[in-house]
C-alpha cells in the first residue's frame, strides 16, 4: 500500500519493555497508514498498545522500551533512525500531540500565552512579541473567551475544558501535518467533550491536519473517525472505514466491544460482556490472543495466529472465522441489527445513485 496520499506509515513495528519479570511484548507487529487529511481512530482496552504505538511515533517512550523491529515512515523518512535532536525538531513542528489530562500536561508556573507561543519561538526562532501576537490569534481560534485579558493567566485559573483548549492551541500553533490526540476528552464532561470534538473537526478542516485519535469510547469514534483500527493485546485485529467497523464488523473482539456498550435503547437484565481479562503480554498466548475470551473461538485459534483476511478493499480482519473453511457463525443480536441497518443504508444509497442517473437505470432493466 505505498500510497502517495499516505503521510505516515508504520511497518512491522515491535516494541518490548524490559522489566524485572522479563520482556513485556507491548506492540506485536503493527502496521498502520495515515492518509492526508483523515482521522484514524485507534480503539482498544488499556494495555492493548494504542498509546505505546503513538508514543513510539513521537519518540517519547520510556527508557526501558526496546524497539525490536519495524519502521515509521513520515513523508518517506524513517523516524526510528532519527537522533533525539532531530526528533526534537519534528515534535511540535510536524507532529504534535494533545495529551489526555489537561490538568497535568500544562506547566503550572508559566503563563498560558507564553506556553502557546513557545513552539513558535523554539521551532521558528520567532521573536517573543510576534509569537505572543500569534498565540493570541490561536487562543481566539480555539474559543478561549476574553483572550486579550487572559493571555497572562496561569493554567490553574482555567476550567478543565478551557485547559484542554489551551493544550490544543499549543499543539496546533505550528500547523502540524500529523496530530496525535491521546484520549483528549476522556477527562471532560459530555457537554464539554462535545465542544472540544467539534472544535477539533473545525480546526482540521481549516488547517488540513491528519489526526490519529486514540480513545476507548466508541461513541466518540463514531462521530470523529474516517477509518478505525481496533487493537487487542499489542496487535491490530481489524481495520476499516468507520461504517465498515460499526455496521459490518467481522472480528469477535469488535463484536464484543460494540455489544458491551449500552446504547440509549438498551434494556434487559444483563449486558453482553466480554468474559475474563486481557492476556499477560509478558508471555503472549500462541495463536489468537483473544481466543481465551472468545465464545466463537475455533480449535485453530489456540494453535495458529490468524492472518488478515480481506473483507473489502478498505476492510481487513484477523480472525479465522473469515477463512473459507470456517464454520458459519451468527454474530450477537446487536451486531446482526447493525448489519441489517448497513444493508438498508447501502440499498438507500444505491437507490439514490440510480435516481440521480436515470439513463443507467434503463440500461440495467434491459
Amino acid at each position: 500500500m505505498d500510497n502517495e496520499k499516505d503521510i505516515l506509515e508504520v511497518r512491522n513495528l515491535q516494541v518490548n519493555f524490559k522489566t524485572y519479570a522479563g520482556d513485556v511484548k507491548a506492540i506485536r507487529n503493527v502496521n498502520l497508514d495515515l492518509r492526508k487529511g483523515e482521522t484514524l481512530a485507534i480503539v482498544g482496552e488499556s494495555g492493548s498498545g494504542k498509546s505505546v504505538t503513538t508514543r513510539t511515533i513521537m519518540g517519547l517512550n520510556a527508557t526501558n522500551a526496546d524497539i525490536v523491529s519495524g519502521s515509521i515512515l513520515f513523508k518517506g523518512q524513517d523516524l526510528l533512525k532519527k537522533s533525539e535532536k532531530e526528533m526534537q525538531a519534528i515534535r511540535g513542528q510536524d507532529i504534535a500531540e494533545i495529551f489526555q489530562d489537561p490538568m497535568t500536561s500544562l506547566d503550572p508556573t508559566m503563563k498560558i500565552g507564553r506556553q502557546i507561543a513557545e513552539p513558535l519561538m523554539v521551532h521558528k526562532g520567532m521573536k517573543k512579541e510576534k509569537a505572543l501576537a500569534q498565540a493570541l490569534e490561536m487562543m481566539k481560534l480555539v474559543g478561549i473567551t476574553d483572550a486579550e485579558n487572559r493571555i497572562n493567566d496561569y493554567p490553574h485559573q482555567f476550567s478543565g475544558g478551557m485547559r484542554q483548549r489551551i493544550v490544543i492551541a499549543i499543539a496546533l500553533i505550528n500547523y502540524p501535518e500529523v496530530l496525535i490526540a491521546d484520549e483528549p476528552t476522556t477527562a471532560l464532561d459530555v457537554t464539554i467533550q462535545a465542544q472540544i470534538l467539534n472544535l477539533m473537526k473545525e480546526l482540521q478542516d481549516k488547517i488540513s491536519t491528519s489526526i490519529i485519535f486514540i480513545t476507548h469510547d466508541l461513541g466518540v469514534v463514531a462521530g470523529m473517525a474516517d477509518r478505525v483500527a481496533v487493537m487487542y493485546a499489542g496487535k491490530i485485529v481489524e481495520y476499516g472505514t468507520v461504517d465498515e467497523i460499526f455496521y459490518n464488523p467481522k472480528h469477535p473482539y469488535t463484536w464484543g466491544l460494540l455489544s458491551s456498550m449500552p446504547t440509549l435503547d438498551s434494556s434487559g437484565d444483563s449486558l453482553p460482556s466480554i468474559p475474563g481479562t486481557p492476556p499477560d503480554l509478558l508471555d503472549p498466548p500462541t495463536g489468537d490472543a483473544f481466543a481465551a475470551r472468545n465464545a466463537y473461538a475455533l480449535k485453530i485459534d489456540t494453535e495458529k495466529e490468524p492472518p488478515f483476511f480481506k473483507v473489502s478493499d478498505t476492510h481487513y480482519a484477523a480472525t479465522w472465522l473469515l477463512h473459507p473453511d470456517a464454520p458459519k457463525v451468527t454474530p450477537p443480536a446487536q451486531i446482526v441489527e447493525r448489519q441489517k441497518k448497513y444493508a438498508k443504508m447501502q440499498k438507500d444509497w444505491l437507490a439514490a445513485q440510480k435516481a440521480s442517473t436515470p439513463i443507467e437505470e434503463e440500461e440495467e432493466q434491459q
Binding site: E45, T191, A194, F246, L264, S266, P272, T277, K341
Partner: protein, 319 residues
C-alpha cells in the same frame, strides 16, 4: 416503575451542603435538594463535574455534616444517630462503593482483611472459621476465587479490584448501597461485567442503589429513576426511560444531546442543543413541580404552564 407498592427507604428533604460557610469563598455544593428513593430500586444521579452529585452521596452516608435539611433513612433522621451503637447500625445498613479501585483499597492489607474489616467491626463472625467462610462466600458472590483472599490489592486488575470493593460493601449485609462512579475507571469490556454483577446482586439480595455517574448511557441502563443535577440543584426527576425519551428541562435536553452514540449514521446528523445556565439565577423562586405523573421539573410559578405544554406535546399528560 411500580409506584403503587413502592415504599420509601430514603427521604432527602431540603438538603443544603455548603463549604466555607460565611467566608468569601463559600461554595454551595448542594443547594436545597429534595428527593426520595424507594426500596429495591436503582436511583441514578447524573450531572457534570461540580454539579454536586458526589457531595449529595457523601452527605447521605453522613461523611459530611449537612448545613441544613434532613435525611431520613427508613423513617429515622440520620442526624439523630448520636450514640456509637446507632452509628454502627446505620453504617452497617448503608455502604458505599468508591470510584477509584486503585485508591480505595489499602495496599498493605490482604484481600481477606479488607473484605472482613466490616465483619470485624460489627462482630458479625462467630469465630475465625466463620469469618474465613464469610469472606470466601463473598468473593465467590462477586466472581472472584477464594484463593484470592490471601493476596494483596496490587496483584489484581482494575475490574477485579472493583469486585473486591463491592465484596467489602456487601460484607455487612447492607440494605442501601451508594455507588459513586463505580465503573468510570474501568475498560469498556470490564464495565459491562461489573454492571451485570451489580444488577444480579440487586435481584438476589433486594438491594437499593444510589448510582452516581456521568456516563449517561450506562446510567439509563442500570437505573429505574434518574435525577439530573446542575449547579448543586436538582433540575428534573423521572423514570429512566421517560427522562431519556421526553426530557422536559432544557438542561436535560442539552445534556442528552451531547452523548456520543456508537453509530456513525446517527453521529453525522446529531445536533447538540446548547444550554444557557444564566436563566437559573434570575432571582425567581423555583421548586420541583410534578409536571406529569412522577415527572418532576424545577420550575418557577410562571414556568409551570410552559412545562405542562411541553409534557402535553410529548403526550405525557392528556388534557
Amino acid at each position: 416503575m411500580d409506584y403503587e407498592n413502592a415504599e420509601k427507604i430514603l427521604e432527602v428533604k431540603h438538603l443544603k451542603q455548603y463549604f466555607n460557610v460565611g467566608k468569601a469563598d463559600e461554595v454551595r455544593a448542594v443547594d436545597n435538594i429534595s428527593f426520595d428513593i424507594y426500596r429495591g430500586e436503582t436511583f441514578g444521579l447524573v450531572g457534570e463535574s461540580g454539579s454536586g452529585k458526589t457531595t449529595t452521596g457523601r452527605a447521605i452516608i453522613h461523611l459530611y455534616e449537612p448545613t441544613s435539611g434532613e435525611i431520613l433513612f427508613d423513617g429515622k433522621n440520620v442526624d439523630s444517630f448520636t450514640s456509637k451503637q446507632d452509628q454502627h447500625d446505620f453504617r452497617q445498613e448503608m455502604q458505599m462503593i468508591f470510584q477509584d479501585p486503585y485508591a480505595s483499597l489499602n495496599p498493605r492489607m490482604k484481600v481477606k482483611d479488607i473484605v472482613a474489616e466490616g465483619i470485624d467491626i460489627n462482630h458479625l463472625a462467630k469465630d475465625d472459621a466463620d469469618r474465613t467462610k464469610q469472606v470466601e462466600d463473598l468473593l465467590e458472590t462477586v466472581g472472584l476465587n477464594k484463593d484470592h483472599s490471601s493476596r494483596y490489592p496490587h496483584e489484581f486488575s482494575g475490574g477485579q479490584r472493583q469486585r473486591i470493593g463491592i465484596a467489602r460493601a456487601l460484607a455487612v449485609n447492607p440494605k442501601f448501597v451508594i455507588a459513586d462512579e463505580p465503573i468510570s475507571a474501568l475498560d469498556v469490556s470490564i464495565q459491562a461485567q461489573v454492571v451485570n454483577l451489580m444488577k444480579k446482586l440487586q435481584r438476589e439480595q433486594g438491594l437499593t442503589y444510589l448510582f452516581i455517574a456521568h456516563d449517561l448511557s450506562m446510567v439509563k441502563y442500570i437505573s429505574d429513576r434518574i435525577g439530573v443535577m446542575h449547579y448543586g440543584r436538582m433540575l428534573e426527576i423521572a423514570d429512566a426511560d421517560e427522562i431519556y425519551a421526553h426530557p422536559l428541562h432544557d438542561y436535560t435536553k442539552s445534556l442528552l444531546s451531547a452523548v456520543p452514540v456508537p453509530d456513525p449514521e446517527f453521529e453525522r446528523t446529531r445536533e447538540e442543543i446548547a444550554y444557557d445556565g444564566s436563566g437559573e439565577n434570575d432571582g425567581k423562586e423555583r421548586r420541583l413541580v410534578e409536571i406529569a405523573p412522577h415527572h418532576w421539573v424545577r420550575a418557577a410559578d410562571d414556568e409551570v404552564a410552559m412545562y405542562k405544554q411541553r409534557a402535553q406535546e410529548a403526550s405525557l399528560i392528556k388534557e
